[in-house]
């Protein structure tokens, strides 16, 4: 009885692609220069990062390929630079370009997992708190308050350091990625929970929810199929922007030395390594990872900025 509405298929449904092309969102995207540039750049960076094993001159995880005779080679346009080390090499003979490509892949993967996990936890907690209210709401939101009263960077560093300390030493290199995902998730889920909770507690008082209740739709189904879709717009914007924040958080943790180890470098690790040679003249070891990280985050934020304005009904 309750499922009829869902099972009816509308007549003459336009194809998904055509619907997308005619939508307001697509139109505002193609007319927004920053968004187009950001999206193209972002796609390029992601594709090159994931194609690292195919296109990088060197496999940075294979220590046999690192040769000390190739150490400290400057970029190719400088005197002493040579093929294939286009952006030069670091102190151990690691190709900077290859390091950047593999490092970006690590950074992006960690950020994606961190955002997905914090999104999942945040949405579940926020929905539960907003929908049931009362004591569940109180307990969950007090807990969120406590986490919010610690600066996120501090929370992530502590979580990462303590979790890393609990790992047995032989697991540290591989477990590091998981630890960072955990640390970023811990400091990140609260914002989603708050957004979803605020939205849910507004939505649950609306008539369509009461109607669904009268039809004896189960609370779980009301939450997931009726309320959740209506809370997704602000969450989507926050997720895009916090994807950039997650990349920065990972880079900061690795830069500070509580993140990825030198054997499995992320962009932050590369910057930490390069930072040691800042004053000794090998500027390329640090500058290129820094530029790559900046490009990555700026391109994400360009898309996020556009999305925030495009989905804001007040600005239409």
């Amino acid at each position: 009885m309750t499922l009829q509405a869902d099972q009816q298929t509308p007549v003459a449904k336009p194809s998904q692609l055509a619907r997308m092309r005619d939508s307001d969102l697509w139109h505002s995207f193609v007319t927004h220069r920053g968004a187009v540039v950001g999206a193209c750049l972002l796609v390029f960076l992601i594709v090159t990062a994931f194609a690292a094993p195919l296109i990088a001159p060197q496999n940075v995880y294979d220590s046999a390929e690192l040769q000390l005779m190739n150490a400290r080679i400057p970029p190719i346009w400088q005197e002493g630079g040579r093929w294939p080390f286009v952006l030069g090499t670091d102190i151990q003979g690691r190709d900077v370009l290859s390091g950047i490509l593999y490092g970006s892949r690590t950074s992006i993967l960690i950020a994606v997992f961190a955002v997905v996990f914090s999104l999942a936890i945040g949405v579940i907690v926020g929905l539960a708190a907003g929908f049931f209210g009362g004591i569940i709401d109180n307990v969950l939101m007090r807990f969120a308050d406590v986490l919010l009263s610690i600066p996120t960077i501090l929370l992530a560093i502590l979580a990462s350091a303590v979790a890393m300390g609990m790992l047995p030493p032989e697991w540290r290199a591989l477990g590091a990625a998981g630890v960072i995902v955990f640390a970023i998730t811990l400091s990140n889920w609260v914002q989603y929970a708050r957004i979803v909770r605020a939205q849910t507690s507004v939505e649950r008082r609306k008539e369509y929810v009461e109607a669904a209740r009268l039809l004896r739709v189960s609370p779980r189904r009301i939450m997931l199929r009726h309320i959740l879709p209506n809370t997704m717009t602000p969450v989507l914007v926050a997720a895009t922007l916090s994807f950039g924040m997650a990349i920065l958080a990972e880079a900061t943790l690795s830069f500070l030395g509580v993140g990825m180890p030198a054997s499995l470098p992320s962009l932050g690790t590369l910057i930490r390594i390069g930072n040691n040679y800042l004053f000794s003249g090998q500027w390329w070891i640090v500058l290129f990872p820094v530029l790559q990280l900046s490009l990555l985050v700026v391109s994400i934020n360009l898309v996020g900025d556009w999305l925030r304005d495009a989905l804001n009904p007040k600005l239409r």
Binding site: I157, L158, V162, V286
Partner: protein, 323 residues
């Protein structure tokens, strides 16, 4: 009003108790401190004696209670690494951090407010759109990236300002300041800019948004119609109406800046609390980590509570709605 005060302060204390619990948990999950403090030859009796002296033979809740009582009195135990009192270690590093954060806050206001006003007044012109675009970089780039770029350009390539350390300092009682010596003033320039840049863009964006709103209001139109000079309309009448959110932001973000200073301090080897904390993290020096967490959160919570209370004083409607 009194009820509001009690409620607000009460909830701040509850939050701090919970933070203290988290800090206390660091010890619990971190392993046995006795094993870290004794040397190899220590007998079982030595270990038991130390355990008793540290109060580790007590039940969990009693230990937590002792931790809170001690923390409230500024007593955080002894550093594993240096065997020195944690609180005096942190106190000796506090002035460096506070000076850096204070200068950065000032910088964000001095630079951010005029930029916000200019981009709002000249909306649509190339330089204001350019500034607006640049501000995306300000919020996108992490402070350590900015710090590294600043060091590379101004310290390594141009040699204008030093890229590490705090320069010479002068002691004023227990407070040491670098602001009174030329080398100290030189040394603070780059770290302060690196720390302030994010805040500058925030201030600029807020002032711009607020100004755009105020400039549309009736009293500005009326002032224009009356022939009040534009400069006075913009800077005396309109800007004043934008300063409240800026003041809130600056106060609330002071705590965040102190926490974020730890990244800047690491890059510049600035001898503040943050550098102490990072070194403690890398050396697994748990008493310092716990103390830093409690102190930073206390500053954070105090500022937020103060802002809430001040708001409630200004706007009585909030006394009912909040909490």
């Amino acid at each position: 009003m009194l009820a509001f005060l009690i409620k607000r302060i009460g909830s701040a204390i509850l939050v701090m108790l919970a933070v203290a619990f988290l800090a206390f948990l660091i010890f619990a999950v971190a392993g046995d401190p006795v094993e870290m403090m004794v040397n190899e030859q220590a007998t079982q009796a030595d270990r038991d004696a130390l355990r008793e002296r540290l109060g580790l033979d007590q039940p969990f809740l009693v230990q937590y209670f002792t931790f809170v009582i001690n923390a409230a009195q500024g007593e955080f135990g002894i550093s594993y690494q240096t065997q020195r009192d944690v609180m005096s270690l942190i106190a000796s590093r506090l002035p460096a951090t506070l000076e850096l954060v204070f200068i950065a806050s000032m910088l964000s206001l001095i630079v951010g407010i005029p930029l916000g006003v200019i981009t709002a007044i000249h909306r649509g012109k190339w330089f204001s759109e350019g500034l607006q675009f640049l501000s995306i970089f300000g919020v996108s780039l992490p402070s350590f990236v900015i710090a590294i770029l600043l060091i590379l350009v101004f310290s390594v390539w141009l040699g204008w300002a030093p890229g590490f350390g705090r320069g010479e300092t002068v002691a004023l009682g227990w407070w040491t300041t670098g602001l009174l010596t030329p080398s100290g003033r030189n040394a603070i320039i780059l770290p302060a800019i690196a720390l302030a840049l994010y805040e500058i863009t925030l201030v600029m964006r807020i002032v711009r948004a607020e100004m755009l709103e105020v400039l549309r209001s009736d009293f500005v139109k009326f002032a224009r119609a009356r022939g009040v000079p534009r400069r006075i309309i913009h800077y005396r009448h309109a800007l004043r109406n934008c300063l409240m959110p800026v003041a809130t932001l600056t106060a609330m973000n002071f705590g965040t800046l102190i926490a974020f200073a730890l990244v800047t301090e690491t890059v510049f080897q600035w001898p503040g609390m943050g550098l102490l904390f990072i070194q403690a993290v890398l050396n697994l020096d748990f008493p310092i980590m716990a103390a830093y967490l409690v102190i930073i959160s206390a500053i954070f919570v105090t500022l937020n509570t103060l802002v809430d209370i001040i708001y409630a004083v200004i706007d009585p409607r909030l006394r009912q709605e909040k909490v």
